[in-house]
Amino acid sequence: MTQSVVVQVGQCGNQIGCCFWDLALREHAAVNQKGIYDEAISSFFRNVDTRVVGDGSSISKGKICSLKARAVLIDMEEGVVNEILQGPLRDVFDSKQLITDISGSGNNWAVGHKVFGSRYQEQIVEKLRKAAEHCDCLQCFFIIHSMGGGTGSGLGTFLLKVLEDEFPEVYRFVTSIYPSSEDDVITSPYNIILAMKELSEHADCVLPIDNQSLFDIISKINLMVNSGKLGSVVKPNSLVTSSAGALKKRQEKPFDAMNNIVANLLLNLTSSARFEGSLNMDLNEISMNLVPFPQLHYLVSSLTPLYTLADVHIPPRRLDQMFSDAFSKDHQLIRADPKHSLYLACALMVRGNVQLSDLRRNIERLKPSLQFVSWNQEGWKTSLCAVPPVGHSHSLLALANNTCVKPTFIELRERFMRLYKKKAHLHHYLRVEGMEESCFTQALSSLSTLIEEYDQLDATKSMPMPDVPRLSIAV
């Protein structure tokens, strides 16, 4: 079994990370009734004997003593990290896993990337090495950050380069939160574009998530709950909505529900690697199957169910509904319309009591309404994990490499250009040492190249399948 290390950077990254660890603990508690430290838990947690002075020696088998998360927490402001360390999760984190500063990055990518990057590079490398050493077989780094701010965006992407240099064989999965258009940070377009260049070059896989989409999803759930729609009662144990039984304060903070969704995404993504099933899918398979060309590694994700019905036994018709939902616009975690764009590849990760024939039947049913690129007409990657998420009987995570991200990127580029043409706020960036205008132009051209590549693929959409002549053999 392999291990993964989570690196949470910046305010957003750390808040989501906090939700994630909470959910992970609850999930493992629900599955692992005997309290034995097994391979599944070890993928995200270390078992530590806290009575031993020092680092706390790792115990590899036997009863769970004290679980420590395999995580590195980075923030250039102390507020969020301190809150975590005083909260109910304080025992899960080792104080040596933190890197903090006081002043913050001021929503400035350049400060996060150049100033704090160089200042903390050594410390970062050291903490990562420590975390990696505790792992038997490290497979993947999960980086959680936001794109609009300064630390998450700047230092988070600086981190990618470091990971690539220090741990070239370990996969880098990045969960990036894009701000909604009503975002209060004026310079977020600059931060986003500068960060995207780094993502395109140094990440293996990026899961872009839109705050607006998360917000819309939560609004819909609240609407359903409050209107008392017939037959739909939100399950009290659902990890998605309620915090009953959670280790958090009763009054929910504004972003909590949204962060829960992202945390669920990460749990479902790794479920097949942690638990057994009839068709396992490891994390390296995600990258292998969904990334046909090195730069095109932005995956649109959608998660069902986001809320569940009160029935325990869900007959096959509702099961099919789960598959249909995964492809509807309302369940996408980024504002995009994959159904009307071109699919390059699609992965379906199913959890729970779903059989192979159900999976195949649904693929057959949905295929005609989706457009796949000509050279990958049956581009489906599937996995079945036997263990369902807490509170649900089954769930589905769909990851798609789809050209529908193009409009999103084009919009980001436009927002960038509106500021850049006027050179608005540029001086805040240029006064940082190491920052020049070429950084901006390079970032812009990197994004344009990306958009161009998606464009070319889109152009093949309406064309008939090209008849590539096969090799002919002299008989």
Binding site: S287, M288, N289, Q355, W380, P466, L471
Partner: protein
């Protein structure tokens, strides 16, 4: 290269109480091959060659008389396909006098793994060079058998594997060595190869068996050898994957037509020409079974006499719960269409260079792909021209 399935397999076997795997006869690592043939072949292969071959050596030493190796693997993933191809090659190097038969699982036509076509063509081309025979099982066919014949509503991999295991059992369970004698066949693997693979260009074998039904239906059915063999023969010549939906229109033409006419006529009616066939009969009154239908020269290519092309194995012992059952292992045009499809899809993906960087990262270059395509197009052409 990944521990979950091996752990499951070992514990399931031990739980049966009747047999189990040797305590140390497994080898696994922590991290799989990521569905990457190149990773399985070029990274895992050399790294673990010594350990794996040591384990093989231990088993070989326990044998009195080793006829060969039976390698079970899939084509779509990374370890089964890539590492499987590598191990077969190592076996060829180290045990060149023993036979190697690979049982390969042909993936579902639509997506289990997106790069399954690449992995498949790389596997097939390498195995063609290092294996003596390829016994192919198609997931799609097994799935249909479960759905139509076994009446299973919610099919799981366990059901599919059950069907495949049944097919293997019906071939490899002991049979008598010669007509009427009471000695069991000593070397089924060798006999099978000898009968079915007369020429190294033609190595692809398919399995069909009859009857195939759920236990509840079994209670209401009776069988005759004539009926079973008639269906089996038609399954062979019409290339049916199972007992249901057989096309009875397809018939061998009558001899006397010029050879050219035979080929085009047969192509129109999708007639399945065979190189060699082996029928295995198990059950009551097995000696009364009439196999004349299989000895018709019209079924076979011109360069092999039916007397050499057709063999039969028999035993009176029934298999599983079937009073009478028959299995057919055939070296024929069974697999031309599936092979052609896989090569076609892989080629179209290759033309757009999609996913190639994932393979070149681990040392499998574009030339290796081209070599594989060339070899397989040659195989397709050879089988088509039978």
């Amino acid at each position: 290269m990944e521990p979950k399935v091996i752990n499951q397999t070992l514990s399931k076997a031990a739980q049966s109480g009747r047999w189990k795997y040797g305590q140390h006869s497994y080898f696994c690592q922590k991290q799989g091959s990521g569905n990457n043939w190149a990773y399985g072949y070029s990274v895992h292969g050399p790294k673990h060659e010594e350990s794996v071959m040591n384990l093989v050596q231990k088993e070989v030493e326990k044998c009195d008389s080793l006829s060969g190796f039976f390698i079970i693997m899939s084509m779509a993933g990374g370890t089964g396909s890539g590492l499987g191809a590598f191990v077969t090659q190592s076996l060829q190097d180290q045990y060149s006098n023993s036979l190697r038969m690979n049982q390969i699982i042909w993936p579902y036509g639509t997506g289990e793994v997106i790069v399954q076509n690449y992995n498949s063509i790389l596997t097939l081309s390498h195995l063609y060079r290092s294996s003596d025979a390829l016994l192919v099982h198609e997931n799609d066919a097994a799935h249909k058998i479960c759905a139509k014949l076994m009446n299973i509503k919610q099919i799981s991999f366990s059901d599919i594997n059950q069907v495949l295991a049944h097919q293997l059992g019906s071939v490899f369970q002991p049979t008598y060595s010669t007509e009427g004698s009471f000695h069991y066949r000593r070397n089924p693997l060798g006999d099978l190869m000898e009968s079915l693979v007369p020429h190294p260009e033609f190595k692809m074998l398919g399995v069909r068996n009859i009857p195939q039904m759920s236990e509840s239906s079994l209670a209401y059915s009776t069988f005759t050898w004539t009926g079973l063999l008639k269906h089996l023969r038609q399954m062979l010549i019409s290339n049916a994957k199972m007992e249901e939906g057989i096309d009875w229109q397809v018939q061998p033409h009558f001899s006397g037509h010029p050879t050219l006419g035979k080929m085009s006529l047969n192509k129109e009616l999708h007639f399945n020409t065979s190189i060699a066939n082996l029928v295995i009969l198990r059950g009551k009154d097995v000696h009364s079974a009439d196999l004349g239908g299989f000895k018709d020269p019209a079924l076979y290519t011109s360069w092999l006499d039916p007397v050499n092309a057709f063999s039969v194995w028999k035993t009176q012992r029934a298999f599983c719960k079937y009073e009478k059952s028959a299995a057919l292992v055939s070296n024929s045009q069974f697999l031309v269409k599936p092979l052609d499809m896989i090569v076609g899809k892989a080629w179209s993906m290759f033309a757009s260079k999609a996913y190639i960087h994932q393979y070149t990262k681990f040392g499998v270059e574009e030339e290796d792909f081209l070599d594989s395509f060339t070899l397989l197009e040659q195989v397709i052409a050879s089988y088509c021209n039978l």
